[in-house]
Symmetry: C2
Subunit: 404 residues, 2 copies
DNA sequence: TTTAGTTCGTTCCATTACCGAACTAATTAC
DNA sequence: GTAATTAGTTCGGTAATGGAACGAACTAAA
């Protein structure tokens, strides 16, 4: 019955892997110092890991006093995961390998026919991305899909996703799983964005944070103590339903959200239309404000006030150390500066407001973080409680430039 | 160097303790089945625990087929913690023992001189509570103090606590530590309330929840995944600063909070005064509403709407499975029913709204939960990551009636 | 009352995992 | 070349655990 290694061994193995992942090529002696385990144990574990193909010798040290040491590193392509950012207009896919490199990504317009067509498109993109990087497809262990809606873990579908047709009835998880032959993890794209910024974006080291995405609508990914807040029904971060901006008790507010009505694309354009008497798209309004258009300036300022109030709401409830703004309009300086100005006027504690550093790749990076954590855990922690490999810090991870 | 037991032993020991704490008097054979460890290991660990005075034989099984088994149980008074609920008008103290019994409590009016006088009062109450229950004071390992403000872990003081004078400058933690001679843990009282309701109140089994306290002010304790959200500056749950109710950009709102201005005692009384032209205290207004007073009814309904919006805000951000209302006015049926009516009108997802079951003892119970978890962890988990003893579920724990 | 069947708990032994000391090997500083 | 230093292996010794075997204690039924 007991052919599995003892938990203490699994624990040690996990520590060794963490040291190797974090500290790049490293000698066994250094690992011993870092983990506190004896040299003998490290050699034993290293031998086993090398036999199983997870690590390999990579060179020798030199220049220091004393005998030169053999250094070991992760075999990057021993396993990999796919990460997909599914948007209403574009799909991005990338491969991340065991060494936590996020490899070049592939982008395409989303298949407009929706449903199963999109599932097949995603599967094809994953295969292409793997091939593109010379990675054998069999090494793929799982796929993380960021979706613009609320994943329903019960039925594997995605509810509240008006931008991708057919995903509210299709069992996406099962369909894509059958297509790719690996485990699938569905996650809200804004949640992934929060995780991405936390890993290697503008919120590294801040374990309590919120990422606010401002685009077609308004949404947030909230992290507490380094963990994502998903909520009881996976619906955490639905800022559009914050009860201000418009009367929250009107029927329309119940449908699209009181705040969404004024901070969503539609709401912003309507407000400009009402004041200026002419229509413009949102980037157009922002540009007009830059040129001194009074109506546009008013709309911009109102929007910033609403966003500031949304930030204040989050701060009043979870009190994050930093709030990162992102999304197509959330990162624009004219908005961010005004939010930075208004927030201290309606919330008394100081809160740092940052801008997304990863831009359009943020969800892909977040998906990689989730997938790699899951991969490391299943491969090396073996279900031992408390045994976890944290992802290497930002400076170790390089984002390879898109090769397409 | 290595006189500490191996982590695998500590891990097993932890599992054995958890089984004994959870399953009351239990035989070693049953523990073996439950933990998956061998009978031999259990006997070894049990012998050690018995030698160290943590567990004891408590009887024998009989009636079943086969040899009768010796059953073991926790030695309840092998160690205990103190839990204190410090309010503006009253101080409560109770002792909780290793077997998770919350023993009879002691209540007194808060020493009005504040500061060090209150610290001494707390220390005296702890000694009295211990004596009251025939527990040797030396068995006390730590004290958890629920305070009506924001604990500052840096300086051991309590900021934002207008109801207890002198605590904003005094190093309460150090002073009380010196007085009692044990480790002190300061925590916001509303946070403790959330933990209390989660442990043995109306939110057992709901790991994502919020407890809203409505009394002098409005505040919340938020739990995500079974863990309390403290926030970056320990200021999570400051609902008074939610940006609606009054104009959040007014100077007054920045000082006391936009929502606090209308949902706090002062705000409710002012609103009634304005409409009815006469003054009443808040319970009086509620009673008047029950008798059909139109002005009181209007104030009550407005208040319920504000609370509903506060609940909606929490739901939009952390999406808890249940929201528990408590505090001096939060538990009143006329308010709760109206909130239950208004919430679905401003928030689209269903949210369960409950009422505090523990009433005025909720913070004491929450403090006990925190203290006992800490106690179990330090005594038996010995700093091993992942080794944790969860508190026994509600049905195992009996709340002894107050003996005073 | 006896006996069969069952469960409890102990003893004994093999295995795994680990540490530490002693030792060999390789490299630099002088 | 020699001393100093660091890397890595070999060789006991110990802690933790599982499993088999066995005696002890108990119930139920013959």
């Amino acid at each position: 019955m007991n052919d599995a290694p003892r938990i203490s061994r699994q624990f040690s193995l996990c520590m060794v892997m963490e040291a190797i992942v974090h500290c790049g090529p490293i000698s066994r002696a250094s690992v011993a110092k870092q983990t506190g385990l004896s040299k003998q144990t490290i050699s034993e574990i290293a031998r086993q890991l090398e036999d199983d193909g997870w690590i390999r010798e990579t060179g020798r040290t030199s220049g220091h006093v004393g005998r030169s040491a053999v250094t070991y590193e992760i075999v990057p392509d021993a396993a990999c995961i796919a990460t997909i950012d599914l948007g209403g207009t574009k799909v991005r896919a990338a491969i991340a390998d065991l060494s936590c490199q996020v490899l070049a990504e592939v982008t395409e317009p989303t298949d407009e026919r929706g449903g199963l067509h999109v599932v097949r498109q995603i599967a094809r993109l994953c295969r292409e991305a793997a091939e593109h990087n010379g990675i054998a497809y069999e090494k793929l262990r799982m796929a993380v899909v960021g979706v613009p809606g609320v994943p329903d873990p019960q039925h594997g579908r995605v509810v509240m996703a008006p931008n991708v047709s057919g995903f509210d009835t299709l069992d996406v998880k099962a369909a894509l799983g059958a297509e790719l032959g690996v485990e699938i993890l569905l996650e809200n794209d804004v949640n992934l964005a929060a995780i991405g910024e936390h890993w290697i974006g503008s919120a590294t080291g801040v374990d309590d944070l919120a990422y606010i995405a401002l685009g077609t609508g308004i949404g947030a990914g909230v992290m507490v103590g380094g963990t994502l807040v998903r909520g009881f029904g996976n619906a955490a971060g639905e800022l559009g339903f914050l009860p201000f901006g418009t009367d929250p008790f009107e029927a329309e507010s119940l449908k699209v959200g009181a705040l969404e009505r004024v901070t969503g694309t539609v709401g912003i354009r309507r407000r400009y239309q009402e004041i200026a008497g002419r229509g413009l798209d949102v980037p157009g309004i922002f540009d007009a404000a830059g040129k001194g258009d009074a109506a546009a300036l008013q709309v911009l300022e109102e929007t910033a006030r609403y966003v500031a109030r949304a930030v204040a709401s989050i701060c009043a409830i979870t009190n994050p150390g930093k709030v990162v703004l992102g999304g197509s309009i959330g990162g624009r300086a004219e908005l961010v500066n005004r939010v930075r100005e208004f927030l201290p006027q309606c919330f008394p504690y100081p809160v740092e407001i940052g801008v997304s550093e990863l831009g359009s790749r943020v969800a892909i990076v977040g998906g990689a973080a989730v997938g790699l954590t899951h991969l490391h855990t299943t491969l090396f922690a073996g279900g031992v409680p408390g045994a976890e490999i944290s992802l290497p810090p930002a400076k170790v991870v390089k984002l390879v430039e898109a090769a397409q």
